[in-house]
Symmetry: C2
Subunit: 249 residues, 2 copies
Amino acid sequence: MTEATRRERLRAETEREIRRQARALLVEHGRDAVTLRAIAREVGITAPALYRYYDSREDLLRRLAEDICTDLAAKLDADLDGIDEDDVSAQVYAVCRGFRRWALAHPQEFTLVFASTEDTLPPCAPGEDRGQVGDQFGRVFLEVAGRLIAGHPLPDDLGDDDVPEELHADLAAFQKILLATVNDRGVELDEDVLPLGAVYHITQSWVRIYGHVALEVFGRFPFAVSNPEPMFDSMLAQILGGMGFPPRR
Amino acid sequence: MTEATRRERLRAETEREIRRQARALLVEHGRDAVTLRAIAREVGITAPALYRYYDSREDLLRRLAEDICTDLAAKLDADLDGIDEDDVSAQVYAVCRGFRRWALAHPQEFTLVFASTEDTLPPCAPGEDRGQVGDQFGRVFLEVAGRLIAGHPLPDDLGDDDVPEELHADLAAFQKILLATVNDRGVELDEDVLPLGAVYHITQSWVRIYGHVALEVFGRFPFAVSNPEPMFDSMLAQILGGMGFPPRR
DNA sequence: TCAACTACGTAAACACCGTTCACTGACCAG
DNA sequence: CTGGTCAGTGAACGGTGTTTACGTAGTTGA
């Protein structure tokens, strides 16, 4: 049944175990604790053996970051499954809240994926510079955002007028990515319902959502926020309201 | 003239040199390169000698973060000096742009101060939990924000109505800090001109400014932004516009 | 079946790292 | 001058990433 040879199966098994243990070390003791020797110890091999799987510790951390993105996307996708397909507003709430809760529950992973300079964690393939924000995660997030707009008439003040000239080209490229992402899931959608102004608004929303989550994870709000959740929710409500959605719970 | 003894002067001199070299290592080669041995090598002493000045490497990094905050505040203050005292809007632009440019020019320092979990960089004095955001920096930033509102009639939609119930207590505390900070600089100001809604708006503005800067530093915008500056400026314009300021260059 | 080849894992070594310890020697107060 | 304080030292311990040479089990072709 299994096409793979014995050696290939063992290798795949070991590789999974390596990442599993590395991930555990990251979550429980932070990035600095993700040591080649510590991983090897947990897996039951010696440190140099890890070089049969990764070029360096940096390379391993990079792969780890990819895994984290994939898992986060899967988790958000799962959260989305339990929600009415037609209630896009609820979907936005679910994805954003899910992202925030995940970040707060896994600050080390959040830091690695969303708050590392390319200096300390160079991009995987230097050649291909596709969508940033860890690919998989971005897909889920942007898909919901795109779908949100697909089935909703946008308010007039979301026209392309407020968009700075210099951003038109970049936003147009992003617009194409958004449309492609949404259409990949079967929803038909063309440029007319997703004007540059809307794309710009989505970007601004990401700035606010990311900003809030990062500030909370790093404890850098200008004052002690004893209960940040309603603050996050009210921000979401305001974002959705700005796109013409009626206020909801 | 100098009250200090010879030994005390030498010690102070060495301490300055230690931080200077540590800072240089951080800026040029990143946090991981800030090694006790590397610092000692640059200063011309041995690594164990550093323990006469700091409890541990962690402690040193903490002090370094404080220095960075102080210097950033001084830099922003200096930028502010060249600007018309009555043009608060221009002051906001200056401080925000200055913050962004500094962050982009010193990503390692930005990461240390504004994107470190308390896990990897525990707060200095565990007892006193004053204003977050590195004290000094917060002062400059919040002072301008407070002053902005002091001399300007706020639009009606900045009332306290939109503020979530659960945040009233926290915001009231922050309101007092803001008023105290602004009044420290001589500007008279009382609660009436700085309602909770305005305080809330300031906090939301910080979320957006921080979010944009961090996304730019970490390269986590959902698409490649070839020219982020107009995007930042347009965000500032929108923030100021939301507070009733006329659009300006 | 057996030889040749591949590749996973090893131990040893190198140069670093943070940190501790016992110790020296310059400074300084009395 | 005497005695104490303290910046700085060298040696050491256990840790790190990484390279090297080597054994050996798995695979493959004749």
